[in-house]
């Protein structure tokens, strides 16, 4: 196999399963939240809270794995990201002929959308968890008086705002995943690998050392 075509691991199987599990549960949560509002009536409550619990478990698993088994710093925004973004702006505005430096495993844009997803998802998960005291589950009976109506009002607003923001975020995330110049990232989220050529073209080896598949 030519060196350029050699496969390098970008996402391990467990990380891909966590990503797609979170993606599917998020889409189910959005569907069960908004389809009834748009006039498609069905029994959505149980599907919604069960999907919420699945998402919560997957987010906790992803957080533990990222913290102890992966390089947490690869998702951290550093000075090089900010410097390269400034250079990207200068390059786009034709103020410089020099293209910006290559990123590590993740570009600044990928880090930013991850962090916005994190904040929005956590807001939805925490408020959704609090809202579950108002429904019967196998573990407890509903108690609508656990918090005051005014507190629940704020919780509903945060939960709804997070859900609405997720519509925008999912649209933008899927759009960039389908961009022709990003398809190797999308393939790696399905199959796990990128080629040595893609690694050399899109990543700085000093910022992301990668293992052969």
């Amino acid at each position: 196999m030519p060196e350029d075509a050699r496969r390098l691991t970008r996402h391990a199987l467990i990380d891909r399963l966590l990503h797609w599990g979170m993606a599917i549960s998020t889409l189910i949560l959005l569907g069960t939240a908004f389809l009834p509002i748009l006039g498609i009536e069905f029994a959505w409550v149980t599907i919604h809270w069960v999907s919420g619990i699945v998402l919560t478990v997957l987010v906790i698993a992803h957080t533990v794995r990222a913290s102890f088994w992966q390089d947490l710093g690869s998702m951290w925004i550093d000075k090089a990201d900010l410097r390269d973004t400034m250079q990207l702006a200068r390059w786009n505005l034709r103020m410089s002929a020099r293209p910006p430096g290559l990123p590590g495993k993740y570009s600044l844009a990928q880090k930013l959308i991850h962090h916005v997803f994190t904040l929005t998802g956590l807001a939805a998960i925490v408020t959704g968890g609090l809202m579950m005291v108002k429904i019967d589950t196998p573990w407890w009976e509903r108690n609508p008086y656990w918090l005051g109506e005014d507190v629940f009002g704020v919780i509903y607003v945060i939960h709804d705002l997070a859900a609405l923001a997720l519509i925008t975020l999912v649209m933008v995330h899927v759009y960039f995943a389908l961009r022709p110049e990003k398809l190797h990232f999308t393939r790696s989220m399905f199959l796990g690998w990128i080629t040595r050529r893609e690694y050399n073209e899109h990543h700085d080896s000093a910022r992301w050392a990668v293992d052969a598949d």
């Binding site: 908004f34 390059w91 786009n92 005014d150 939960h159 709804d160 609405l164 923001a165 925008t168």
Partner: protein, 52 residues
């Protein structure tokens, strides 16, 4: 356009129910606008050969 949904409790006081669902097209439109802006940027402004 309303930003919030409210109702009245049994004592007639206004109670917050969440964000207004009139905002669904706004957030959908924001996603579409970001995508459109990026498409225009790539088509009109981005240096040739840009892969980032």
């Amino acid at each position: 356009m309303e930003l919030l949904r409210t109702s009245r409790d049994v004592w007639g006081q206004e109670v917050l129910q969440g964000m207004s669902w009139d905002l669904i097209p706004v957030f959908f439109g924001a996603g579409a606008a970001i995508i459109l802006c990026h498409l225009l940027y790539r088509w009109l402004l981005a240096p040739k050969g840009q892969s980032r």
